[in-house]
Amino acid sequence: MTVAGDNGKQAQRKAAMAVLAHADAAEIARRLDPIALPPFENLREPENGLVMLRGRIGGDGAPFNLGEATVSRAAVRLATGEVGFGYVLGRDRQKAQMIALCDALVQSNEFSQAVEESVLTPLRTVLVAERDRRAAETAATRVDFYTMVRGEG
């Protein structure tokens, strides 16, 4: 595979993870259900841990440690060899495992289209709708200034 192809695949995996991280574990499971999943094994048993969240001084300066967050991670390998990783905020280990499974499926020529259609596209639709709803509610609280003119010219 070319370098450009690798980058394209990586971007695709990252985009999938960005959607999955925001979805409920139950929702991912429900969307995966219709797909006849290939056998897989855990490369890393799902586990909980922490990451140190970093901010930047002034928003755009040198980094500093803001505080930690709980995370879960997992890794799986499909029988066909693809290795998938799941990292996600929170303590839901099963969700990390399902993200890892989806990541492996995204890399598989056989399953990538099915995952895109049955899992990622519908989850993305839900996510975008939720973001749009919040954005519309927020927009209604935007201040419209007007100027009051007193007296003549």
């Binding site: 990451v51 969240l53 002034g58 980094p63 930690e68 709980t70 609280t141």
Partner: protein, 369 residues
């Protein structure tokens, strides 16, 4: 000789049983769920996450329930929990410029690109108790309007374009970031360590210190350049994956204070900055943090250090409410032996005092006779 005293196990056990009973309150009243606490006491949960220094809404809600609403006890529980998990590493620094903003205001410019967005705020409410909440009522659905696709630059970025404000300090990408959870504090402390300390510091302590700067104890002439609240995506560079993995989003509040200007013979005067960042919707906290961050820059900016809020050792050593409560509250634990020794000493001193008084009184008596 050292004499150990044992006992009280049954009393302790029964006290904790009684505590659990009192925590539950009247059993005819439905029990609080974590979802209720997280959803309806959300600012309390945000404060526990911020000062507990752990982003996990569900755990913070559990801590608040277990602590019977005592914030500092809840923060203590969270700090203790975080010590039980391994740390996988540090995230990429979050980009608050890319925040999905839910509130964004500036007290320095009326017309800022993206506008003034009030969001869910207590500001401009009349602070009158609302009896409808006592009865339980369904709130009106939020109003909606068409969202603008325009980006929302930080106010400090706008000022920075004309050089009117100092740029944020920069470092090489591979420089180490100070971490007070790994190395004990030493002074003088750099700004990264100070901000980490202030981020987990007690809100009340920072509020009082920030207030003291406004009242003249280390004045820094602040304006709230910008306050923003919203969701920020987090990425983690996972070595095994080979690229920065999206972890999901966290809710953050950021405050940029714009402070009195500073110049020198070689540099044109420009505004200086104070910075605040916290988990959740924590506006008072981030404003106080930004005030104190700025006042703690006294040394760096060549200002005279005359006030408590400018003294980094004083501020950083007393800002942590878990440490503070540990030392204050340990006074109620048995100090029987310490106290016995003090009591013995005091009795001896009093005896010596009264003997000395008798000795001096006696000759006077003789003289009088």
């Amino acid at each position: 000789m050292y004499v150990a005293v044992k006992g009280g196990e049954r009393a302790i056990e029964n006290a904790h049983r009684l505590l659990a009973h009192e925590r539950r309150g009247d059993c005819d009243v439905p029990e609080l769920s974590l979802a209720q606490i997280s959803g309806q006491l959300s600012l309390g949960v945000d404060r526990i996450m911020t000062e507990g220094s752990l982003y996990d809404r569900e755990l913070a809600a559990l801590a608040l329930k277990q602590a019977r609403g005592d914030m500092i006890e809840a923060i203590f529980l969270i700090r203790a929990f975080r010590a039980t998990l391994p740390r996988f590493g540090a995230t990429e620094p979050v980009d608050t410029g890319q925040m999905r903003v839910r509130r964004r205001i500036s007290s320095t410019f009326k017309d800022i690109p993206g506008g003034q967005i009030l969001g869910p705020t207590f500001d401009y409410t009349h602070r009158l108790l609302d009896p409808r909440l006592a009865e339980g009522s369904e709130p009106e659905a939020p109003a909606t309007a068409e969202a603008s696709a325009a980006t929302m630059p930080r106010v400090t970025d706008i000022l920075g374009r004309d050089g009117l404000i100092e740029p944020s300090p920069q470092v090489d990408a591979d420089s180490a970031v100070g971490d007070l959870t790994r190395e004990p504090l030493s002074f003088p402390a750099d700004r990264d360590l100070r901000l980490q300390n202030l981020a987990r510091a007690d809100e009340g302590f920072l509020l009082a210190l920030g207030y003291s700067t406004q009242r003249g104890y280390g004045r820094s002439h602040p304006f709230a350049g910008e306050i923003r609240l919203g969701e920020v995506e987090v990425e983690f560079m996972a070595e095994d994956v080979g690229f920065a993995v999206p972890l999901g989003a966290v809710t953050l509040t950021e405050c940029q204070m714009v402070n009195q200007f500073k110049g020198s013979a070689t540099e044109a005067p420009c505004f200086t900055r104070g910075y605040g960042l916290a988990f959740g919707q924590s506006e008072r906290k981030t404003m106080s943090m930004a005030l104190v961050d700025r006042s703690l820059r006294a040394r760096e900016l060549g200002e005279e250090i005359i006030a408590p809020a400018q003294d980094e050792e004083f501020v950083m050593s007393h800002s942590d409410n878990v440490q503070a409560t540990g030392f204050v509250e340990h006074l109620k634990l048995p100090h029987y032996v310490d106290f016995q020794s003090e009591l013995g000493l005091l009795r001896k001193l009093r005896k010596e005092f009264s003997e000395a008084a008798t000795d001096t009184a006696a000759p006077m008596q003789e003289a009088a006779e």
